[in-house]
Symmetry: C2
Amino acid sequence: MTAFKLDIAATDGPARTGIIHTDRGKIRTPAFMPVGTAGTVKAMLPENVAETGADIILGNTYHLMLRPGAERVARLGGLHTFCGWPGPILTDSGGFQVMSLANLRKIDEDGVRFRSHIDGAEEFLSPERAMEIQRLLGSTIQMVLDECPKLPADEATIEKSLALSMRWARRSKIAFGDQPGHACFGIVQGGTYPHLRARSAGELTEIGFDGYAVGGLAVGEPQSEMFDTLEATVPHLPAGRPRYLMGVGKPDDIVGAVLRGIDMFDCVLPTRSGRNGQAFGWDGPMNLRNAKYAEDTGPLIEGCRCPACRKFSRAYLHHTVKANEIIASMLLTWHNLTFFQDVMAAMRSAISEGRLNAFADAFFARYPKRSEDATP
Amino acid sequence: MTAFKLDIAATDGPARTGIIHTDRGKIRTPAFMPVGTAGTVKAMLPENVAETGADIILGNTYHLMLRPGAERVARLGGLHTFCGWPGPILTDSGGFQVMSLANLRKIDEDGVRFRSHIDGAEEFLSPERAMEIQRLLGSTIQMVLDECPKLPADEATIEKSLALSMRWARRSKIAFGDQPGHACFGIVQGGTYPHLRARSAGELTEIGFDGYAVGGLAVGEPQSEMFDTLEATVPHLPAGRPRYLMGVGKPDDIVGAVLRGIDMFDCVLPTRSGRNGQAFGWDGPMNLRNAKYAEDTGPLIEGCRCPACRKFSRAYLHHTVKANEIIASMLLTWHNLTFFQDVMAAMRSAISEGRLNAFADAFFARYPKRSEDATP
């Protein structure tokens, strides 16, 4: 059994590159984790997700607990077997989706009671149940249950929520127990208040986790606030453990966060955008629905290794997007995941060679500054 | 330039197996052609369609003329280049879809005027325009424009419609002109009236086509009537030319039609059913939505070579069908196309070895007799 462990191969300022070892294989960092909400990275076969360069995918506890159900997944051999992904899987705790998707939520010290958005059934999630579900799924990296308050929020609200999240973190860690080769990550909260972020990081470090996530960001705040918050948080996290920025983000968010010491990311952006006709590239996103692509025989991105770029024209993608054909979702998702992985691979090389700042300068010189400055 | 030609390698009763040569490659017969309506076999990449064993796909003139438009496809290098399928493509004439999908149809001797179901634009299709569109698309096998009356219909209605279709067939053949390596197929009409089918076959043979389709079937009549009509039609067609039964069908329809001398088939069934959670097998169709599959860890079909069967359980397919995940459409389409091609390959072998009747007996002994006896 391989122990869960981060080996840092090189650093470049606050940024690091290395390998996370797990009992399901290695994760090269900085890593982007495609989101496979309900046991599938939408519109992709698992082997093709791996071909894009992904070492790890994410599953959503909220969705999986409702359908097909954690006990059922366990009876079917666990999430890896069920969804055909043999590599590492990270699952969130379900807390974020309960807040954003479920109905009739009621939070107290014990946990959160809510109704399923699928069939209205009453459900309950506590720190202990969230960890039990993730263990039933067989998740490689399991996240503590936290409360994720909406931003902006006043300091008292954030502080109260943070205190609850820290008590839940302690209970989650105990519930996780001892699972060799697997990991339990704590989640730093504290809104955009530097002293609350520092306090949260300190308390979690005291409990002691295998890795540390930064939560509660990418919920609508300006990018500069997200970066400021990272700068106020990362120095308070132990250097030898993986750092994961949850739910981020756009390519420029990711580059900025790697510069500030983050190792892991997840976001629905490449998959969801792919299903909506949007393709990412070094010059920013393209909307394939745009009529200017109707007779464009060029590839999405010159030299890209994905099948959308190697085998099809922008004109074909435009046509299939307009006609709502599934192949458009398949090809644009494949392209976007490839592009995100290529950005990560470029940053890993740059950090190894001590030229991350030069990479980032070149990246930001080319990638368009967003018109509105909010994170997704 | 390879001339268009059918080489019959073996016969077994009325059934034949062989190779159709085209300038785009070979078609093994009996052949099943997956339907790629709007420039994509839905939910499949072209290379994966080829992997299932398909030598030729079908495109729909009606859909392609409306979007992206025949002239545009021609400017983009033709349908093969546009949709990434280098092999043979057969296009229908658009007539059938005008009847079933378009609005405000008005048919006269000249052709049919209608409104697009996409944007309401007024459109016109004549025998000459149907052939011009198919030439612009670069279609390998081009179909004459015909009128396809709804069944049941009285003899006078069928006879009048047939007469128009025969005049249109003559104009279509002239419009097709000389396209080496490509083919123009006539379409036998005549409803379920044997003498009208014989007359239609005779008139088309006199005009002289590269192949002959049987049209106006699989529109709701009982399977026995379809088979009777084939028996009344096929003997009147020249032995050395391909015979194509349009829009058929279920696996048992196809086996029955091959027994009666048909060489080519197309149907949306494997692709459309795949998107609706239905999987085909030697024991008949399975509805993956059924709760009995929720914890079934077995494959769809034991020993099947498709990725749905090799890599996923019925339980996973059940889950992803219920959750409306695109991967369910992808996997079930892939499986169904593989199964249909495996049925065709089994028949080609059986004909080669003079044991098609034994194959058919075993097939029908296992495949469930349909509850209602109508074609799709």
